[in-house]
């Protein structure tokens, strides 16, 4: 074995798994990479084939993980991509070890992260993302008896509330910033187009039926001594406070665009531009899933299959998936409209509210700047270890700054990794 593959897939969530499986089943030598220690991405985090039937999305998970195991695809979990050292050559790192991996075709399936928006008190321990709280609980954090407020925006909120409740948390309320009218419009569309998604949402809501769910409502501040103890909510012209142990708050999702940016893929209105075979503007580089529009599991699976087919020269197989693809792309654009951020959220940070958590840069300091570049030069905003992954999306919304191009390494890396001459090929698979 060598470190050269026909196809390298970065990101082992549903989109990456589907792409890798389809290409490997067609006879391509495929390597599937993920920074996490296990495959499945965020949506399938912590699932095991033997327990999958207890969760939604179970059938899809079991089927795809089963196909992956039989496909002959090489899976490298726990490896973080840090740089494209030359065309067709990706450098990856795990703890203090690094490798170079060569490919003919690259499929990026790096998924999405939560969008975080700053408000007074959002840096207090106990304030976490909505998906963040769910991920931590899936990773063993004990939720039993915790009073939790779920807030922010997006279809994830109901799922998080239901999952945290199942894990023993007491949900003190679910607060969605989007207005009811937009959600109702999305719901009406789904009745005819994708009733399954509506059923899923309704099931989450039923699991939390005795919890208040308010649309057009958002967190205005979090307070507490040493950790969050109380959260203020603005709801339909009123403001009131609720005591809690945790605030799980995220504002829908934004794609992880660092690798596509580093490679120079064309990005338009926040998503990678792709053609009907999921190919980006860079030859040999395809993008699937959340990178091309936040649309969730089914969209990622369809796009992953199309990219996998294309990588294996099976375009006709890909075309058969077009009706599904169009339905999922339509869903993604409807999600963006339904969960668009309201302008009032721009007024939440106070002068002293941290916007950049790595470097502790306040709203006041940033409001005096006129661009992301100036903010970086004058304040170090976005230059800490998260490299602007958190404050970048916030600054885009708060100040209208367009994000900077990605520079290598796209993740903080060991000096030895950066200095490696590239211990590629045979030496790797010892």
């Amino acid at each position: 074995m060598s470190a050269r593959f026909d196809v390298v897939v970065a990101g082992a969530g549903p989109g990456g798994i589907a792409a890798a499986v389809v290409a490997a089943e067609a006879g391509k030598r495929v390597c599937l990479l993920d920074a996490n220690s296990s495959t499945g991405g965020q949506i399938w985090r912590g699932l095991h084939t033997e327990t999958a039937h207890r969760y939604p999305h179970d059938a899809a998970f079991a089927a795809w993980i089963g196909r992956l195991a039989k496909s002959g695809c090489t899976v490298w979990a726990g490896w973080q991509a840090v740089d494209l050292v030359s065309p067709g050559r990706l450098r990856i790192e795990r703890e203090s070890e690094s490798r170079d991996i060569e490919f003919e075709r690259l499929i990026l399936a790096t998924g999405a992260r939560e969008r975080f928006l700053p408000f007074p008190g959002w840096t207090l321990p106990g304030v976490m993302g909505a998906g963040g709280a769910q991920a931590l609980v899936k990773a063993g954090l004990d939720a039993r008896g915790k009073r939790v407020i779920v807030a922010g925006s997006g279809p994830l909120l109901l799922a998080v509330a239901a999952n945290l409740a199942r894990a023993g948390a007491i949900i003190e309320g679910i607060f969605e910033q989007a207005p009811l009218t937009g959600l109702a419009r999305l719901g009406l569309h789904l009745i005819a187009a994708q009733p399954g998604k509506l059923v899923e949402g309704a099931r989450y809501r039923l699991q939390t039926f005795n919890t208040r769910f308010r649309t057009g409502s958002w967190v205005t501040r979090a307070e507490g001594r040493g950790c969050v103890e109380r959260v203020s909510i603005a709801s339909r012209g009123r403001e009131y406070a609720i005591d809690c142990d945790w605030l799980a708050c995220g504002f829908h999702l934004v794609p992880n665009l660092e690798l596509p940016r580093l490679l120079g893929c064309r990005i338009d209105a926040g998503y990678v531009t792709v053609d009907s075979m999921q190919q980006s503007s860079v030859p040999g580089v395809a993008c699937v899933g959340e990178l091309t529009g936040i649309g969730g599991l089914e969209k990622a699976l369809v796009e992953g299959q199309i990219a996998g087919c294309a990588a294996a020269g099976r375009e006709s197989h890909a075309r058969a998936l077009y009706p599904q693809l169009r339905r999922q792309q339509n869903f993604a654009s409807r999600l963006d409209r339904a969960f668009a951020l309201r302008g009032e959220l721009r007024d939440l940070p106070a002068d002293g509210t941290m916007v950049c958590r790595c470097e502790d840069i306040t709203h006041q300091a940033l409001a005096a700047c006129n661009s992301w570049r100036q903010a970086r030069l004058h304040t170090r905003c976005g230059m800490g270890p998260c490299q602007g992954r958190v404050c970048g999306a916030a600054a885009e919304f708060l100040y209208g700054w367009s994000p900077a191009d990605a520079r290598p390494p796209v993740y903080p890396a060991q000096v030895s990794t950066l200095a490696a001459a590239g211990n590629a090929a045979g030496s790797i698979d010892r």
């Binding site: 920074a35 996490n36 220690s37 965020q42 703890e95 203090s96 992260r113 939560e114 975080f116 840096t123 321990p125 106990g126 304030v127 976490m128 993302g129 998906g131 963040g132 709280a133 769910q134 991920a135 931590l136 609980v137 990773a139 063993g140 954090l141 004990d142 040493g226 950790c227 992880n256 941290m354 958590r357 790595c358 470097e359 502790d360 800490g384 270890p385 998260c386 992954r389 958190v390 903080p412």
Partner: protein, 81 residues
């Protein structure tokens, strides 16, 4: 829940957690901040998925490890704050 447990130390305190627990979850349950910010604020994990870097701690002497991405292993020494 699997009853198997592992023991680790967090800032010198012995802690037992269920096998499979992430280091970030263990640090949170121990009531310790994961790090102190540059202006002195106590911080705890935000994103839970390796993006925000708020959960970074020193593990077995290696600093700046993303604790949400790593699973507790028997005998691990974690230093946070």
């Amino acid at each position: 829940m699997v009853s198997e447990e592992v023991s680790i130390t967090i800032n010198g305190k012995l802690v037992r957690v269920a096998a499979g627990t992430s280091v970030a979850a263990a640090v949170l349950m121990a009531g310790e901040p994961s790090r102190i910010s540059v202006t002195g604020e106590a911080r705890a994990p935000l994103c839970g998925m390796g993006i925000c870097m708020e959960c970074r701690v020193t593990i077995n002497g290696v600093p700046h490890q993303r604790s949400c991405m790593l699973t507790c292993a028997q005998g691990m020494e974690v230093v946070s704050g």
